[in-house]
Amino acid sequence: MKLSNLKVGEKGTILSFTDLDLSVKLMEMGCLPGEVVEVERFAPLGDPMAIRVAGYQLCLRKSEAEVIIINK
């Protein structure tokens, strides 16, 4: 499933990416295959979202979270 489908508090392990360019940026920011991500919160208007990954908090738009395939 996609990271953007998770609800607040849910965790998943990154499997792969569906967009090569975005995957480069995401991996540089610590979102590597095998890392566990947890959804921390959504912005008040529902987008973007904040996730906990690699020991810090990262925010990204839902459209960007859509390219991250995870295993819940």
């Binding site: 360019d21 480069v24 991996m27 921390e40 008040p44 987008d47 925010c59």
Partner: protein, 702 residues
């Protein structure tokens, strides 16, 4: 300087704090060619008495740039002939988030420049229960590792000592087999460029388009190698990142021990649940915006009055004691007045940047972006554009400087382009004067004053125009940069008050020295145009009134006012006002308003003073009731009809709402975008918009 040191690191690692800590006020700001980010250099004394030049490179997560500002990091580190090419790199990492920060270390290390690793925020990471074995890390990396806290002044001396002790030849291990990523292409580049560095060759393959030091022929040859070996940039970058992280996991596995992983973020999380809350989040943000607006609008008015009074005093005293003549007039009315016009902005700039640096430092600004992104990105703006736009209600100049905090180039440009449309405080005197002329002061529905409503409508017009123009520019401005919103949300921290003071000082200084040049130049041109006229017109005016002035039995104040009026009419400004009359007649203006439009370029509120001179009001711009009476009774000499009708008034207010009549804004846009392209585009589009809005309004209402 004996050696050059470059600070390299991720954003939010405290790199700038370290820079301030090492250099004190011993810094200067220059330019990197072609990009908008400032080049910050400073000086410090090392332990052995030698001097070092320090350059603070833009924060980046990787050597692969995502923006033109980030691309400067590799451009400096790749080019040994670059002025800024360092002898030593200090790689600053956040000790509480070592692994992600070390990706950049691993890339930079492979370039083969001598380096020192500085683990910043060591006190914070220890508090979070993270233990780092420095000796083991140093041994595994092959470089000196120093733990510091720039914020609390821990380990700075050890860092200086480590810089002094750094070998001239790089000692770091290069564990990652870079060559395996694209062996044939890398080897071809290496033999082409006579380099023995695999990673340098790989980086050249990736981003030679950004590198200015290659000749066109070299660029073509590199491109040819790229093509013939089917080099796939994104795929190779992905493979490299995975390879580097694998290696880092291995290195860090028995170096970092994290005892208390779960509890460390509870404080930040609690704050976030309030500060980004659906209702409280916006309420608190609105409150903060109100405090900022109030501060730059109301608090800054006191120091601004002192500055104005100070420069007024210098001018008056100068006229009294210096020998009268053209040179004195140039110095006092041209240059001193111009300087006064520059210094008067300092309170607003300093106050706005005090707030912005507190909001950035605490980590709150990142949350603002997070909350506002959805609304602002719809119209082509950024979450961070909110602060410049609100600041624009007071003054566009500090607000445009504040757009610097927007990382995305396109978002920053759009913010800069539309901020002057928000009605600033200099428009207020003009709006008030015209509203009092054309809108009756009466209440409707019992409570709403019609004049107050009209003023509010003018402010709304400004904001709506800014949003609409931003939306249009979203489609017009093209960029190669992909717009990301993948951003770190740093943990909340106390602001560093010293940094706040540095920022206030640095921004004020930059404005005075960089934008000041342009303001002085325009100020002198305007002075010359208002003080001189062609031929002997001025002599004739003096002769005409000479006898009246000589009669000491009468009050000569009004005669001097009449002279000033006639001289303004016959000056170059006056002639220009007459000359543009055919162009502005369809807007309902006469040549007198034309003169006002031209002098307003010094600052919009100058319109009121100009009207005072043109209508021969003895009290100048202080005596608004006389100005109002004179203006409302003035008739057009051509048609015999009153000049200030409802239609002309609305037309004039719309013109002031949209036109770029502010040399200080032009100057700051020039300084912030590092060129004349954007200020000229802005001047043209705003003037055109003002002209057509005024034209349509007048033609419909007359």
């Amino acid at each position: 300087m004996d050696i050059k040191v470059a600070l390299v690191g991720n954003p939010n690692t405290g790199k700038s704090t370290l820079f301030n800590r090492l250099t004190g006020l011993n810094q200067k700001i220059g330019n990197f060619p072609g990009i908008t980010v400032d080049k910050k250099t400073g000086f410090m004394k090392l332990a052995n008495g030698k001097g070092a030049e320090i350059i603070d490179l833009p924060g980046t997560y990787s050597l692969y740039p995502k923006s033109s500002d980030e691309s400067i990091v590799f451009q400096v580190l790749a080019d040994s002939k670059n002025d800024s090419y360092p002898d030593v790199i200090v790689l600053v990492v956040d000790a509480s988030n070592l692994k992600r920060n070390m990706l950049l270390y691993s890339q930079v290390a492979d370039l083969g420049i001598p380096m020192v690793l500085a683990l910043n925020m060591i006190d914070l990471s220890e508090k979070q229960g993270i233990q780092i074995d420095l000796d083991k890390l140093a041994e595994k990396l092959g470089v000196q590792v120093v733990s510091i806290s720039a914020r609390n002044n821990i380990g700075i001396d050890q860092l200086k000592l480590a810089i002094t002790n750094t070998n001239k030849i790089a000692t770091q291990f290069q564990d990652v087999d870079v060559n395996s990523l694209a062996p044939a292409a890398i080897n071809a580049i290496k033999s082409k460029l006579n380099s023995d560095n695999d990673y340098y060759a790989l980086q050249v393959l990736h981003q030679h388009e950004y590198l200015k030091f290659f000749t066109e022929r070299e660029q073509d040859e590199i491109e040819a190698i790229e093509q013939s070996h089917h080099f796939e940039s994104a795929k190779t970058q992905a493979a490299e990142t995975i390879l580097r992280y694998k290696n880092l996991s291995l290195i860090l596995s028995d170096v970092v021990t994290d005892s208390d992983a779960a509890k460390k973020f509870t404080f930040s999380d609690k704050l976030d649940s309030i500060l980004t809350h659906k209702i409280w989040g916006f309420a608190i943000f609105l409150l903060i915006l109100f405090v900022i607006f109030n501060a730059i609008f109301a608090w800054s008015s006191y120091p601004m009055q002192w500055i104005e009074a100070g420069f007024g005093f210098i001018t008056e005293a100068g006229h009294e004691y210096l020998p009268a003549g053209m040179l004195t007039n140039l110095v006092l009315d041209g240059i001193v007045a111009g300087l006064g016009g520059i210094f008067v902005f300092i309170p607003q700039i300093a106050i706005l940047f005090a707030f912005i640096s507190i909001l950035e430092d605490t980590g709150y600004m990142a949350r603002v972006t997070f909350m506002m992104d959805k609304i602002m990105s719809k119209v082509g703006l950024n979450g961070k554009s909110v602060v410049p736009m609100i600041g624009g209600l007071a003054c566009a100049v500090p607000s445009i400087m504040a757009a610097r905090n927007i990382e995305n180039w396109k978002d920053r440009m759009i913010t800069i382009m539309v901020t002057p449309l928000v009605s600033c405080s200099a428009r207020l005197p003009v709006y008030i004067l015209i509203i009092s002329l054309i809108i009756p002061s009466k209440n409707i529905l019992g409570v709403f004053n019609l004049q107050g409503l009209a003023l509010m409508v003018m402010y709304l017009v400004g904001v709506i125009a800014a949003v609409l123009v931003a939306w249009v520019m979203k489609f017009l401005i093209k960029t190669k940069e992909r717009s990301y919103f993948i951003m770190e949300l740093p943990i909340y921290r106390m602001p560093r008050w010293k940094n706040v003071l540095y920022t206030m000082y640095e921004k004020s200084k930059t404005f005075v020295f960089e934008a000041g040049k342009v303001i002085i130049a325009i100020s002198i041109i305007l002075w010359v145009m208002a003080t001189f006229g062609p031929g002997n017109r001025f002599d004739r005016i003096d002769q005409k009134y000479a006898s009246a002035l000589a009669d000491t039995t009468k009050n000569t104040v009004h005669i001097e006012t009449l002279i000033a009026t006639e001289k303004l009419e016959n000056s170059y400004v006056g002639i220009l006002g007459h000359w543009i009359e055919p162009a502005i007649r369809p807007l309902g203006y006469d040549w007198k308003i034309g003169i006002g439009l031209i002098t307003s370029f010094a600052a919009r509120e100058a319109f009121v003073g100009t009207m005072a001179t043109i209508y021969s009001v003895d009290g100048g711009d202080e005596d608004t009731s006389t100005i109002r009476t004179r203006m409302s009774s003035s008739v057009n000499s051509r048609t015999g009809l009153p000049v200030y009708t409802f239609a002309t008034g609305i037309s004039l207010m719309l013109f002031y709402a949209f036109a770029m009549q502010c040399m200080s804004t032009v100057a700051i846009v020039y300084r912030e975008t590092k060129g004349w392209k954007w200020p000229v585009i802005q001047l043209v589009y705003m003037t055109a918009m003002a002209y057509f809005a005024a034209l349509i309004a007048y033609q419909l209402l007359k």
